[in-house]
Point group: C2
Chain length 315, copies 2
Amino acid sequence: MIQLSRTQIEALVTVDSEMAEAVRDAYRAISDGRANLPPVGHLGFPAAHGDCHIKFGHIAGDEVFAVKIASGFYDNPAKGLPSSTGVVLVFSALTGQMQALLADEGYLTDLRTGLGGAVASLALCRPDARRFLIVGSGTQGYWLARSLRHLAPAADIAIWGRNPDRVAALVARLEGVTIAPDLETACRGADVIVTATPANAPLVRADWVRPGCHITAIGADSPGKQELETALVVRAQLRVADSLSQSLDHGEFAHARAAGLIGPGDCAELGAILSGRAAGRRSPDDITIADLTGVATQDIAMARSVLSRAKGTAQ
Amino acid sequence: MIQLSRTQIEALVTVDSEMAEAVRDAYRAISDGRANLPPVGHLGFPAAHGDCHIKFGHIAGDEVFAVKIASGFYDNPAKGLPSSTGVVLVFSALTGQMQALLADEGYLTDLRTGLGGAVASLALCRPDARRFLIVGSGTQGYWLARSLRHLAPAADIAIWGRNPDRVAALVARLEGVTIAPDLETACRGADVIVTATPANAPLVRADWVRPGCHITAIGADSPGKQELETALVVRAQLRVADSLSQSLDHGEFAHARAAGLIGPGDCAELGAILSGRAAGRRSPDDITIADLTGVATQDIAMARSVLSRAKGTAQ
């Protein structure tokens, strides 16, 4: 059995074009019907302000399947522990034998989420998009900036966050990324906005967004979370989700759906657009929105890449 | 992180009175409302004749929770591998950190299932029950016999199986256990019958069972499996399940329910009987049946015991 620590995994996989392609294929697998993704398991620990999600699945033809056990315990920082952690287990899809324990402590989730945000944004924005705004200065802000820098080297990337000290510290860790002055001005000037916050109320207003803008919303992944004004979701000409069922149930699109303003027929799936089976952006003036709630095929793709690189074989 | 192999786990926990009590408490936890048991996850691999079940849960007040990933790949024996395997992961319920990887290869499931069968049988049979019949000569036959021998030392235990060579080999591994001649005769003479087979059609007929007999059925744990004639389930004065919802959905009681012959109100839960909140056997002439489909609280109890003994602390 292969057993890898976070440090070992970081040395094997990071932001690169092969990993971005693995993430693209993970989205396609969902829309192509190649993915077997049972419902996500959930265990809550209200007394400890914690919860645990168990994501698992298999992509048809893969020799492995993966089970990711990820948790967030929000009192951990006071105990000197990170709030989020996780492990990914990899099993043979031919014999059921355990092949690897990836003690990545959430690294692979951060990496695939950042890559996924960049991949979705670049698939849907105008080809001439230049000004990219990242909203949020947490871990995801970092991985989004790294991923966008790699996949769109000419992009002009700015970061906005509520806490100026955190934004300054984050920008200092990144190359060629600037600090956005205020959110409204930054949104009004952006060709692409990527939101990655734990917001429970809309941050980005419908009238702050100019025609032709693309928005990728990453933060809303459970009931009650929301980053975009519902009117913005309704206003968009194209609404795209990594998983339509998740997005309409507990993602960014859930609010417009609950209000009866949109339905499944008003949305497309990212994988179908990436594989050319559904239309993406139709006009330079379209406002397009991608909502990413996170899907287990991305976790499978990450695990497969780690294993493949650990074994020193070609993917 | 604690990491233990099957051999190390076997040296820590086996059939003993403390483990039997842990299993009893696991049943009580379900009926007391202390257990948080989300639906079992399932991944099928039809091309490889395999499937994987993910059981997870938490018992209120426990400092740990467990995730069990168990699979059966039925082409494995031809590859020189066991068909069943599994791992149990233990996490802190206070911080989410992974505490242990128990690579038990299914040993803990075998142990808790054997102990569970013995515990349920002894809780529901007549106090003067003496003649015990185990139907099935697989792994479960072994652990049931070991558990019954330990918890009911005066019992007269016989084993019946389709394959006389396998039965002879199994009996040779056990002390004080005999071979039952034929199934009908053995059933007619038994005070307690425990079935542990992968049967898809009834083995034990309603008119083979005498008044006062207790039957524990362990084999039926998925749709289509059946060990007892439906008329026997209907005839019983007391029907008990480890998990009523599982038993009526895909356990031994599912057939009588599907035929409209019994409903949830005609059954009791084992944990409620063990904690004294529901009545067990009422008369020496009652036929009683326990259907055990397996519950994650048993897995949690096993994992907790392993960890506690590994740490050398009292449970």
